[in-house]
Amino acid sequence: MGVTIHVENLNAWYGKVQALHDINLKFEPNHATALIGPSGCGKSTFIRCLNRMHETIPEARVKGRVRIGELDAYNGTSATQLRRRVGMVFQKPNPFPSMSIYDNVASGLKLNGVRNRKQLDEVVERSLNASALWDEVKDQLHKQSGAGLSGGQQQRLCIARALAVEPEVLLMDEPCSALDPISTGKIEELIFQLKEQYTIVIVTHNMQQAARVAEFTGFFLLGKVIEFDKTEKIFTNPSNKRTEDYITGRFG
C-alpha cells in the first residue's frame, strides 16, 4: 500500500549554490503526482531528496523535513532503510551490465541477503510481469545480460528491479525521456496500474504525459514550487501567471 509523503521546508544545496528553496508539498498515497518545470529548475534535485540520493553527491546538503509514511527520512532513519521503501527509476536506464536479466531484477533482494531460490523466482516473475517485460524476456532470463536489451526494455527492467524490493513509494525521474512512443505508452499504462499499490512521483517534460498519468501536478521554477494542484486545474485554469506562461509554451 502507498503512503503519504510530507515535505516541510525543504532546502537543498550543491556546495554554496542553493538549488531548492523552502519546498512544502504533500503527496497522496495511491495517486501519481507529476512534477513539471523548465530544465534546471530543481525537479531531479527534489525527488533525489525524497530518498536521500542527494547526499551521495560530494558537497551536497539538505535541510528540512521529509516524512514517508511514519518514517522521518532525515531523522532517525538510515539512508539504506529509507531507500528500500522508496524505489527510484532514473532518467537514463541503468541496468547492471555484468548481470543477467534475472539477477538484475533479483539484485535488490540478493544484495540485502535473500537467498531463497523459490522466493526469488517468484519475485522476478511477478516484477517482470508488473513492468510488462515478462513475455519479451522470459526465455532468456539467465542467458541475456541486462545491457543487451533495447533502451525501452532496459527502462522496464529497471522498473522491475525497483518493484522487486516492494517499496511503498516509486520515484520516477523522466522515465520515458529516452523511449519511443510505444515503450512510453507501455510505461504510462504501467504507472496507471502501479498507482493502485504505490505512491508515485514522476518528473516529466511532457505535459500530455503529466495530464495522462497524474492526478496532481506541481510546477517548479528556479528551485521553488510555484503552483501545486489537481492536474486538471493546472492545465486548464492555473492560478499563477507563470504557470500559465509555461503551460502555454510562452517560456521555458
Binding site: P58, Q81, R83, R84, N94, F96, L111, N112
Partner: protein, 297 residues
C-alpha cells in the same frame, strides 16, 4: 542542358571524393596493421628463438630432476620450477588482495589529500629499481628471520605487484559509470556492498588484466630474489628455507662457463615463458567461465 552537365560534374567530383576516401581508408588500415606487426614481431622473434635454443634440452628429466653436480650431464630444473610456483603463489597471495584493496580505496573513497599521497607513493614505488625492493625485503624479512626464504622472495615480489594492481584497479573502477552505483544505492544497498558486489564486479575483467600484468612482470624478476629466496640446488617446498627460482637458476647457469648449463639456461627461459603465458591464459579462461556461471545463478 546546363543542368545536366553540372550534374555530371558533380557526379565525377563525388566519384573522385569516394576514390580518395577509399585510398585514405586503405592507407590508414594498412598503417595500423603494420604497427601491429611491428609490435608483435619482437615478441614472436624472441619466442621463436627461445624455442629454437631451448626445446632441445627440454625432456622429462629436465622437468622432474634437480640439478646434477658440475661436470655431470643431465639433471633438470624441477626444483626451480616448483620454487617459482611457490614464490609467485606467496607473492600473489600477499600482493593481490592488498593491491585491489588499495585500488578500491582510491577509486571509491580517495578523492582527498590522503588519496593523493597514496597515488603518488604508489607511482614512485612503481619506479623503484627491483634490486632496491630486494634489499628492502632482505632487511625487513631475511635479517629478522636470520635466513633466506621463499616468504622473503614472495614478499619482495608482492611489493612490486602492488602499485600496478592498485592503479589499474582504481582506473577500472573509475570507468564504471556513477549511474550504476546510484542504481544500487537506490535499492537500499549499503555503500560497501555496492562497491564489492556491483562496482568491482562490473570492472572484474579490467581488474584481472591489471593483476595478470603485475604477475607477468614479477614472474621474470631475478634481482629481488638474489638475496631473499637466494636459490637452492635441491628440492624445497618449505616456505622458510632458501628456495630455487627459475630466473635465478637461469641467471646462474647463463653466466657459468659450461655449455651444458648454457643449454639448460635456454630451456629454463622457455619453460618460464610458457609458465607465464599458461598462467595468464588459465586465469582468463577461468574468469570467463566464472563470469558466465555468475550470470547464470
Amino acid at each position: 542542358m546546363s543542368e545536366r552537365s553540372s550534374n555530371s560534374v558533380a557526379q565525377s567530383s563525388l566519384l573522385r571524393i569516394s576514390l580518395w576516401r577509399r585510398f585514405t581508408d586503405c592507407f590508414a588500415t594498412s598503417v595500423a596493421a603494420l604497427t601491429v606487426v611491428l609490435v608483435l614481431l619482437p615478441l614472436g622473434a624472441i619466442f621463436a628463438y627461445l624455442v629454437y635454443r631451448g626445446i632441445g634440452s627440454i625432456n622429462w628429466a629436465f622437468l622432474t630432476q634437480t640439478p646434477k653436480p658440475v661436470g655431470e650431464a643431465g639433471g633438470g630444473m624441477a626444483n626451480a620450477i616448483g620454487g617459482s610456483v611457490l614464490i609467485l603463489g606467496i607473492a600473489s597471495l600477499l600482493g593481490v588482495p592488498f593491491g585491489i584493496g588499495a585500488g578500491i580505496y582510491l577509486a571509491e573513497y580517495g578523492r582527498n589529500r590522503f588519496g593523493d599521497i597514496i597515488r603518488f607513493t604508489s607511482d614512485v614505488l612503481n619506479g623503484v629499481p627491483s634490486i632496491v625492493i630486494g634489499i628492502v625485503a632482505y632487511s625487513v624479512v631475511v635479517l629478522r628471520q636470520k635466513h633466506f626464504s621463499a616468504v622473503a622472495g614472495g614478499f619482495a615480489l608482492a611489493i612490486m605487484m602492488v602499485p600496478t594492481i592498485t592503479r589499474t584497479t582504481e582506473e577500472m573502477l573509475l570507468l564504471v559509470p556513477q549511474s550504476i552505483r546510484e542504481a544500487a544505492y537506490g535499492l537500499g544497498v549499503p555503500r560497501w556492498r555496492t562497491t564489492l558486489s556491483i562496482t568491482l564486479r562490473t570492472a572484474t575483467s579490467g581488474v584481472i588484466t591489471g593483476v595478470m600484468l603485475a604477475f607477468a612482470r614479477v614472474a621474470g624478476e631475478t634481482a629481488p630474489l638474489l638475496f631473499t629466496a637466494f636459490g637452492n640446488q635441491y628440492w624445497n617446498l618449505n616456505v622458510n628455507q632458501s628456495t630455487a627460482a627459475l630466473p635465478l637458476q637461469i641467471f646462474t647457469y647463463a653466466i657459468s662457463p659450461f655449455d651444458e648449463w648454457h643449454r639448460q639456461a635456454w630451456a629454463g627461459a622457455l619453460v618460464l615463458i610458457v609458465l607465464i603465458v599458461g598462467a595468464v591464459a588459465a586465469v582468463r579462461i577461468a574468469v570467463r567461465r566464472g563470469a558466465l556461471a555468475g550470470a547464470n545463478n
